[in-house]
Symmetry: C2
Subunit: 328 residues, 2 copies
């Protein structure tokens, strides 16, 4: 019997989790829980059910782990503590500044219920955080750099869509090659916002809209665009559909540090991701940590955990013996 997974919320992330379960033969999807009318939601897995979110507790004993696929702004701060009492849960909470508060709320609930709750799982926070931690532990004297992209920023795309006269838009965040190269060469550059990333926007304007005004509103938008070099392309709805449908992303975590009695030797540790689908990759990470949550809870652990608290062996399907013989 596989580890039985429940998915709460069936958007891009929930669908990604469903696909990831199919790739892991020690897992099975028990069901999808939705705020919508369950009859209106059609899922890919024939063997699994679709249920109302309100009925979650009725299915409590049928699931080993519940993956909460909600938004960080309002859903997760409420949902994860609520369900951590009754389920081993995983979320991808990504509001960095509010992680300590979220951790405290979830930890309390998970300990009450004797469950394991893993928060902030994904790639940033997630795999990028892990790589920052490992690299800092190994090279205590050094400098961290994180670059994002090339990838679609939903937040920036949405910001453009809110401009009057814009029908649709897609914004790509692009790391600046020159900066990346300097970091890799161990030059330890001081990099401002403008030095690290550029922003490229593909905009579908409504008929008759003033494109020059739209361009000006984009490039001067505070916080989102004004501190960056920005390129704006106006394209047709058809071009947007044809060339910009995907949700790619990725990035680079680099630590440049020194060793030696007189710090005479330099080392560069680099971790990078190039992802065709941001939500599907995030989902794949969620599923690996679902396996860990299940195993850790069976060993008697409870409380809130992050990627820092999980020994890698818990994530892997392979046995410890196999891993030592073949992966070490």
């Amino acid at each position: 019997m596989g580890i039985k997974i429940g998915i709460l919320g069936y958007g891009n992330l929930g669908r990604g989790v469903e696909c990831a379960i199919k790739q892991n033969d020690d897992m099975e999807l028990y069901g999808v829980f939705t705020r919508r009318d369950p009859g209106s939601v059609s899922i890919l897995t024939k063997e699994a059910g679709v249920y109302s979110k309100d009925d979650l507790l009725k299915h409590k004993d049928n699931m080993d782990v519940l993956i909460i696929c909600g938004g960080s702004a309002t859903d997760l701060p409420k949902m994860t503590p609520e369900y951590a009492k009754d389920f081993n849960v995983i979320d991808s909470f990504d509001t960095h500044a509010r992680i300590p508060e979220h951790f405290a709320n979830v930890d309390k609930a998970a300990k009450e219920g004797g469950k394991v709750a893993m928060i902030s799982v994904g790639w940033d926070p997630g795999m990028f955080s892990l790589n920052r931690a490992y690299a800092n532990a190994i090279l205590p004297e050094g400098k961290d750099y994180t670059f994002w992209g090339k990838g679609v920023s939903q937040g920036h795309s949405d910001a453009i869509r809110r401009i009057e006269g814009v029908e649709d838009a897609r914004q790509y965040t692009i790391p600046v090659d020159k900066a990346l190269t300097a970091v890799r060469n161990g030059e330890n550059p001081e990099l401002g916002t403008r030095d690290k990333h550029t922003r490229e926007c593909f905009v579908v304007a409504k008929e008759g809209a003033d494109k020059e005004r739209i361009r000006q509103e984009i490039v001067t938008m505070p916080n989102y665009f004004d501190e960056y070099d920005v390129t704006v392309h106006f394209i047709s709805k058809e071009e947007l559909e044809r060339d910009h449908k995907g949700i790619p992303h990725g990035g680079f975590v680099i630590r440049s540090g020194v060793s030696g009695w007189n710090k005479e030797n330099r080392h560069i540790i680099e971790y990078s991701l190039k992802l065709d689908s941001n939500p599907e990759f995030t989902s794949s990470v969620l599923i690996a940590y679902a396996r860990a949550a299940y195993r850790m809870n069976r060993e008697g652990m409870s409380g809130c955990k992050t990627v820092f608290d999980v020994a890698p062996a818990y994530l892997c399907r392979e046995s410890p013996e196999y891993m030592r013989a073949h992966m070490l």
Copy 2:
């Protein structure tokens, strides 16, 4: 008071550990233990002692972790099980094929003594293994690639030095750019030995030696060179000293995998190292795992562990609260 470290064996690796301790303010070097006459060994740390290896047990209660800096061929298979009874130990055992046997021997001893023993710590095995494990857990359907270099291979340099007429030599292993690019592009190439790495040799010939014969002996040497494209440069002793004194190394671990209901999306996870000093970087990893061994043993754990068994938080000086607030 810091974590008190003992170093057994004072070659390149032992000296690297000594330097790494200096960079970590929660650690201190208690002493170096040597097979040589302690009076003949001069170390960099003024506050620490130099003792005979034979007196190790007399110092048992003065150290928290013993780092065993010996060779994998004959030293570590004997030493690590011997000392794991009395000390928390770390080694960098790197004979991949013999890891299961080494693990079993060390595990028995460490459990008897109630100590934590970490084996095969470093970068390969070590950080490369970790990255293979994480990437496989996240992308179960995919292909792994490991490239080494550009870096000095001690084994290959030694093999050249054994050829008649060779005074000294340095061999660099170099990854083939074209192969790396194909992997990064998600082409999933099938790569033979010759496709992945080239070998470049810098040789100092003895006076009057037949260079063409030496070159032939190198390029046709079974296992070491015959399956590779090899370049041989004859240089002077002075040039070798001037240009090839360092021990750089590094490499790339890449997993190319797919996600999606129909495996329609591709993801590339890449981890790479560019190291000025192979032994010093390895030592820096050893020291991070020494911190983990100390903490895990204090929590009551014992037995043999590998990098797969260690939650990242154990490696970091920072508190869990700090890590969640600033590194996640």
